[in-house]
Subunit: 340 residues, 2 copies
Amino acid sequence: MARAAFYEHDKTIRVGDVEAPVPGPGEVQVKIAYAGICGTDLHIYHGVMDQRVAASQIMGHEVSGVVSALGEGVVGIEVGQMVTVMPLDPCNACPACEAGYSHICLNLKFLGIDTQGGFQSYWTVPAHTIFPLPETMSLKRAALVEPLAVACHDVRLGEVKAGEFVVVLGGGPIGALVGLVAQNEGAEVIVSEINPDRIRIGRELGLEVVDPNEVDLVALVNERTGGAGADVVFEVTGSAAGAATMTQLPRTRGRIVVVAIFGHVPPVDLKAILWREMKLRGTRVYERQDFEKAIKLASGDALPLDLLITGIYPLERLKDALTELEQGGNAMKILIDVAA
Amino acid sequence: MARAAFYEHDKTIRVGDVEAPVPGPGEVQVKIAYAGICGTDLHIYHGVMDQRVAASQIMGHEVSGVVSALGEGVVGIEVGQMVTVMPLDPCNACPACEAGYSHICLNLKFLGIDTQGGFQSYWTVPAHTIFPLPETMSLKRAALVEPLAVACHDVRLGEVKAGEFVVVLGGGPIGALVGLVAQNEGAEVIVSEINPDRIRIGRELGLEVVDPNEVDLVALVNERTGGAGADVVFEVTGSAAGAATMTQLPRTRGRIVVVAIFGHVPPVDLKAILWREMKLRGTRVYERQDFEKAIKLASGDALPLDLLITGIYPLERLKDALTELEQGGNAMKILIDVAA
């Protein structure tokens, strides 16, 4: 029996039977094993994206699973193969696509937001979104590849190099992953986080986490860098406090990477950016090379990814999982065990 | 007789005799021909920089002149040589200097602001700040080398390439120079300016200038770029309106260069920057290669620089020149004829 969880309207989830979608030409059907809950899913659940999502929306875009059927013309992918999905479907015709940035296509369809998603037994997606996984990889870990690819993209575009000093503002799932990836590149990393649970989990992950309400972060960074300032600052809070802090930390010609999607237009100290000739850039989702790197990292032992998974719920209990996530910091990454 | 103009306090200028400063070891004395008035000089005149400038401050840092005396140990510079001055004196010991960014040294002395400046008959400066000029160069044009070097720095760090589409927000002296230098690199340039006099002067300089109160700038840029957006946007207004507009114009992965020194902390749409993965950077003053490029450009005929000079006053009338400049747009670059 194929099952799916539907977002109906503000904080209402219905779980029910669904027709397993038959793959059309160029499509692949995946039997979903695990699907992680993203902050965006929580936004949808709260009704704030109702203008964008369709009625009876199946959310979920951080998946692992096994190929269960192939549409016409699909080559290089086999039924039974363990896979994950890079949930981006670009138009391939807009100026962004033409310039080589199809991952942020001006008409991008984000699978699971602009189309039905992975909180269902069988998910059918375009073949170009399928990434095969090593056979030895845990399917739980594989459900973390998508958020890990975000972190790989951020760290790559932040041009983090071994020996550099990195500050990550915000120690939620993405902030923690950015910190872990930067550390794995050989950088010295401090994560700034105010939530006690997230501070604890970050430290368990092997990160140096400080609470900026208890520690003078600017003074600490200056002390640790001989007065120079940080090489790279990642803004992952989406808060006015983060936007204010991010310009106080970089060294001369240092870099700021804006990772969080701000829900408001915050004040930004452009004079500070000018004075030290800082460079700021926005980063969004990932490119194919980031997905490949994330698969490589997640299939090895370099990162303690299992510690990020703080809960696993069956599909029937998606609402409980969303409720736990919205209640705060002690939940980091919650997976839905779709096949349970 | 050596004369100097002293800023005493809010809007008070005193012109009087002064001892011609004798060059110490490693210093060069320059008989000043022309000295341009910078926006910063106007700020000093208005009293807003009283915490930084000394009492009886001699302002002025955009100069041309002839070497009149050499201090001990100065080699490679000769009395009688036509020169200009790059008015930056770094500490060579701070983290910025050590990283190779001595032009924005953390302890930078800006000559003419943090030291006595060029609104005097003889200006004595460190030998490393002296740049020889071609003998055929007009000394009036040579006084424009410093602001032109600012524009060369901005355009270089903005990585403007031939065929790119560039928008310059603000058509004052620096904005106009940025537009001219970008155009000279082969870019297609639109300058956005609201002041009617500056619009007229910008057009006389050969720039395409539009009034954003009359033209929908975003629509115009999209129309001219096939919906893609601008490759580079220079923010040279220092206004909240400019900070709001700068994020609406760039293409995917387009660049924003913050040139203006903001006197306030404006709202900046970080979500827009993230959404198109834009890159923003601050730029400040210039490096030696920018000064060299500015000298080369100013000594040739590529740029109609003479049209930027809208007034020339003798030193005795510095206050009248400052008054004209503060009254608005029909003044672009005013030179002080120090030797008159």
